[in-house]
C-alpha cells in the first residue's frame, strides 16, 4: 500500500524520540567537557618513559640504545647519550640518555617505539588533552616531562604493567642467580688457587 | 476624486509607464505585476472583493509568473542595446492621444456614468456564484471547455517531445 513505509518510518522515529529520554541506547551523546567517555584499556595516545623507584632520573629504564629513534617512522624522537654510566634495575652500570625529546605534534601514535624497545623503557600514555597555545615548542617534551613512575603505568595499563614487571623480575632473578653462580664459581676458583698457592708455597723438604 | 483613488491611480500609471520604459526586461515584468496590483487595489476600493482578490490570484500569481518564466527561458534578461524610444515616436504619441480621447469621450457619454450614484449593490460571493451558475452558466461552460482544450494541448505538446 502506498504510504505504508512512511507510517512505519514515523513509528520508528517516534520510538527514537521517546526512547531518547529513558534509555542510553537511544541517546548516545557524551557531553564532552563535563562528561568523558570511558576509554578501553588498550588506548594509546603519546609515549612516555617509565622509571622504577622514587627518583625519576636514577630509576629511568632507558639506556639510550637509540633503537626507537631509528625505528620511529616520522622521526619524532631525538636522543643523546650520556658520557657517564648509572646502574640499571639489575645493578649493571649502563649509559643513560642525556637528552630524550619527543615532538608530540609529529608523533603519530603508531607504538613502534614501544614494540622495539628491549628494555621496556618507553610505553604509551593515555593523556589526550594536550592543547597548548605555543605553536612551535609547546608540544616538544623532554625527558623530565616524559618520565612517569611505574605506578602510573600500572594505573593506565594494568595487565601490560603486570606482565612487564613479571618479565623484569624474572630477568633480574636470572641475573642474580647467574651472578651468584659466577661469584660461587669465582670463590671456589679463588679458594682452589689459594690452596694451590699455599701448597706451592710450602715445598716439600726433600732433596 | 477621493484621495485613495488618486493614490491608486498614480501608482498604477507609474507602474505601467515603468513597464514600457525600463531597460531590463525582468524589471518591466515586475513593474507589470505592480500595475496588476494597482488594478486590484482599484477594484477593492470599489468594494468588489471577489474581483479584486481574483485579480491578484490570477494576474499577479499566474500571469506575472508566466511572463517571468517566458523571459527566463528565452534569455531576455539581458539589457537592450538599442535606443529606448523608437524613431516614429511622434506618430505613436499622436495615435495614443487620439485613442485615449475617443475612449474618454465614450465613457463620459455612456449610460453607466450618467446614472445617479445610488447605494452600492451588495454583491457577496454567494450572489456571484449564484449568477455564474444560473444566468451566466453558458459562458462559464464555454470558458471551461476552452481551458480544457488548452490543458489537453499542453499535455500533448509535452508528450510529443518524449516519444522520440
Amino acid at each position: 500500500m502506498v504510504g505504508e513505509g512512511i507510517i512505519k518510518g514515523m513509528a520508528e522515529t517516534a520510538r527514537n524520540f521517546l526512547g531518547s529520554y529513558v534509555s542510553d541506547e537511544r541517546l548516545t551523546t557524551v557531553q564532552y567537557p563535563e562528561e568523558r567517555d570511558v576509554l578501553p584499556e588498550a588506548t594509546r595516545q603519546f609515549p612516555f618513559l617509565v622509571y622504577d623507584g622514587n627518583d625519576p632520573m636514577a630509576g629511568l629504564r632507558c639506556v639510550a640504545c637509540q633503537i626507537c629513534e631509528k625505528e620511529c617512522p616520522p622521526k619524532c624522537i631525538c636522543i643523546e647519550k650520556s658520557k657517564d654510566k648509572k646502574p640499571d634495575y639489575v645493578g649493571k652500570p649502563q649509559i643513560y640518555p642525556a637528552k630524550f625529546d619527543i615532538d608530540l605534534s609529529v608523533c603519530m601514535s603508531c607504538q613502534i617505539c614501544v614494540e622495539v624497545c628491549p628494555f621496556e623503557a618507553i610505553k604509551m600514555d593515555t593523556e589526550y588533552e594536550l592543547s597548548t597555545t605555543d605553536r612551535f615548542g609547546g608540544l616538544l617534551v623532554d625527558k623530565h616531562q616524559l618520565a612517569k613512575p611505574n605506578s602510573h603505568f600500572h594505573q593506565i595499563h594494568p595487565t601490560d604493567a603486570n606482565e612487564v614487571d613479571e618479565r623484569l623480575a624474572a630477568e633480574k632473578a636470572k641475573f642474580e642467580a647467574k651472578t651468584k653462580a659466577d661469584a660461587e664459581a669465582k670463590a671456589k676458583a679463588a679458594a682452589e688457587a689459594r690452596a694451590k698457592a699455599a701448597s706451592s708455597q710450602t715445598p716439600p723438604v726433600s732433596a | 476624486m477621493t484621495i485613495p483613488f488618486a493614490i491608486i491611480a498614480l501608482m498604477t500609471i507609474t507602474a505601467t509607464v515603468a513597464t514600457m520604459s525600463l531597460r531590463n526586461l525582468v524589471h518591466c515584468a515586475l513593474a507589470a505585476a505592480v500595475a496588476f496590483g494597482g488594478l486590484a487595489a482599484a477594484y477593492l476600493q470599489l468594494d468588489a472583493q471577489f474581483v479584486g482578490f481574483a485579480q491578484i490570484l490570477v494576474y499577479v500569481g499566474a500571469v506575472a509568473i508566466l511572463i517571468v518564466f517566458a523571459v527566463l527561458l528565452t534569455r531576455g534578461g539581458e539589457p537592450t542595446t538599442e535606443a529606448l524610444f523608437s524613431k516614429t515616436w511622434v506618430t505613436g504619441t499622436a495615435i495614443a492621444v487620439v485613442v485615449f480621447g475617443v475612449l474618454a469621450w465614450t465613457i463620459r457619454n455612456s449610460f453607466a456614468s450618467q446614472c445617479e450614484i445610488t447605494a452600492l449593490p451588495d454583491a457577496t460571493v454567494k450572489d456571484i456564484g449564484g449568477a455564474l451558475m444560473g444566468k451566466y452558466v453558458l459562458p462559464l461552460e464555454v470558458i471551461g471547455l476552452l481551458l480544457t482544450a488548452a490543458l489537453i494541448g499542453a499535455v500533448i505538446i509535452a508528450l510529443k517531445e518524449e516519444k522520440k
Binding site: 518510518g9 524520540f17 | 472583493q49 482578490f53 481574483a54 491578484i56 509568473i65 527566463l72
Partner: protein, 398 residues
C-alpha cells in the same frame, strides 16, 4: 458558558475595547478606526514571531532527539534561548550583496516575501470574536496573498545572478504552482459544504456537537481525505521537508537564497516558518473546527488556548515528518502532485457532493469511505506498478 470562563475567553477583546475607549476622546474618527486596526494587529505581530522563535528551538531539539542526539542545550535553560543567540548572529553578520546582483530587487525580495505572509494572518480567527478582519471572501484573500510569495521567490532567485539560485527559484516556483491546485481544490470541498468563503462562518458551521465527536469536518470521510491532502500541499507550499528540494542544502546549496546573509536570510527563514504557521492555521480553521474544543464540556478553556494547542500539535507532526521522510526529487515531486494528488482531490469533490446529497445515516458513510479509500489504493497501486525503471537516457540541448 459560565461567566468566569467567558471573561477569560474574551479578555483580549475586552482589553482592546477598553484601550479604544481610552483613545476615543483623544483621536478623530478616521484615526480611531486606524487605531482599532493597529490594536488588532499588534498581537499578531507579537505572538507569531514569538512562536517562530520557540519553534526553531523546538524543531532543533526535536530533530536531535529523533536522531539520537541532544539538540542545542547550552544557551539558556535546556537551550531554549538559542533563538536569541541566532537572532543576534543574524543581525550582526555582514550583509553581502554580490557585485553582479540586481541591487534593488535583491533588497526587495525578502520584504516582498514577508509582507504577504503577514497579510494572510488577518483572516485567521485565533479565538472567539478574535479575527483581525472579517472578510466576506476570506479564504480567497488568503490564497491571493499566497500568490505574492511566488513572485518574491522569483525575485530572490533572479536578482542574485547565480545559476544555482536561478535553478532553485524556478524549481521552487514550479513546485509552488503545482501544489496550489490540490491545496485550493481541497479547500473547495469545505467551501462547498459551508456555502461561504468567510473563515468565521466556516468555524460556525463546525460548532455543534453530535454524540461523541464534534462536528468538525475532519471527522467525515471527505474531510479526512481533504485534511490530509491539504496538509501535504501545505508542506509543499511552504517548501518544507520532504518538499524542500528548492532550498535543500545538500542538493542545490540553499537554492534561491544562496546569496543572502545576515538579516535578509533571517527574514527568509521567518517568512518560511510564518507561512507554515498560517497555512496550518487555515487547515485548523477549515477542517479542525478552529477554536472550538473537542468536547462540549471542555468549552470552559478559552478558545485561543484551543487554537494554539491545535497549532502546536500540527507543528509537532510537521517536525516529526521532517525527521522521518527523505527529500523528494524534483520529478518525483511533480509526479506526486499531478498524477496522484490531483485525481484524488477531484474525487474528493465528488465524495463531498455525494455526502451532501445522501440522507444522513450509515449508507453515506459506507459509500464515501469506499470511494476515498478505494481510489487511494487503486491509484497507488496503478502508479507503483507503472514505474518503468529502465536504463537512464540523456537528452542534450541542441
Amino acid at each position: 458558558m459560565s461567566g468566569l470562563s467567558e471573561t477569560f475567553d474574551q479578555i483580549f477583546v475586552t482589553l482592546k475595547h477598553w484601550l479604544l475607549g481610552l483613545l476615543a476622546p483623544v483621536l478623530p474618527e478616521s484615526l480611531l478606526s486606524l487605531a482599532s486596526v493597529i490594536l488588532s494587529l499588534i498581537p499578531i505581530m507579537a505572538i507569531f514571531p514569538g512562536l517562530f522563535a520557540i519553534t526553531t528551538v523546538l524543531e532543533r531539539k526535536g530533530l536531535g532527539r529523533i536522531q539520537n542526539r541532544y539538540g542545542p542545550n547550552r544557551v539558556g535553560p535546556f537551550g531554549f534561548l538559542q533563538f536569541a543567540a541566532d537572532g543576534v548572529k543574524a543581525l550582526i553578520k555582514e550583509d553581502l550583496v554580490p557585485r553582479a546582483a540586481d541591487k534593488v530587487i535583491h533588497f526587495l525580495a525578502p520584504v516582498v516575501l514577508v509582507i504577504p505572509v503577514f497579510l494572510a494572518y488577518t483572516v485567521l480567527p485565533v479565538g472567539r470574536n478574535m479575527v483581525a478582519v472579517d472578510m466576506d471572501a476570506g479564504v480567497l484573500f488568503f490564497f491571493a496573498v499566497g500568490a505574492g510569495t511566488e513572485l518574491a521567490v522569483f525575485m530572490a532567485g533572479w536578482s542574485s545572478r547565480n545559476k544555482y539560485s536561478l535553478l532553485g527559484a524556478m524549481r521552487a516556483i514550479a513546485q509552488m504552482v503545482s501544489y496550489e491546485i490540490p491545496l485550493i481544490l481541497s479547500t473547495v470541498t469545505v467551501i462547498m459544504m459551508v456555502g461561504s468563503l468567510s473563515t468565521v462562518k466556516i468555524i460556525e458551521a463546525q460548532s455543534t456537537y453530535h454524540g461523541l465527536l464534534p462536528d468538525w469536518f475532519v471527522f467525515t470521510p471527505w474531510g479526512l481525505a481533504g485534511f490530509i491532502l491539504f496538509m501535504i500541499s501545505a508542506l509543499a507550499e511552504s517548501n518544507r521537508s520532504p518538499f524542500d528540494l528548492p532550498e535543500g542544502e545538500s542538493e542545490i546549496i540553499a537554492g534561491y537564497f544562496i546569496e543572502y546573509s545576515g538579516f535578509k536570510f533571517a527574514l527568509f527563514f521567518l517568512a518560511e516558518y510564518l507561512g507554515m504557521f498560517v497555512i496550518s492555521g487555515l487547515g485548523i480553521t477549515l477542517f479542525l473546527g478552529g477554536w472550538h474544543a473537542p468536547l462540549e464540556s471542555l468549552e470552559v478553556i478559552p478558545s485561543y488556548i484551543w487554537f494554539f494547542t491545535k497549532l502546536i500539535a500540527i507543528i509537532f507532526v510537521l517536525i516529526w515528518i521532517r525527521g522521518t521522510v527523505p527529500r523528494l526529487r524534483m520529478d518525483q515531486l511533480m509526479n506526486f502532485a499531478w498524477k496522484f494528488m490531483l485525481p484524488l482531490v477531484l474525487l474528493n469533490l465528488i465524495t463531498a457532493a455525494i455526502w451532501h446529497f445522501m440522507a444522513p445515516g450509515a449508507a453515506r458513510w459506507v459509500v464515501s469511505f469506499s470511494i476515498v479509500i478505494g481510489s487511494y489504493l487503486l491509484l497507488g497501486r496503478a502508479l507503483f506498478n507503472n514505474q518503468h525503471l529502465s536504463k537512464r537516457t540523456y537528452r542534450y540541448a541542441e
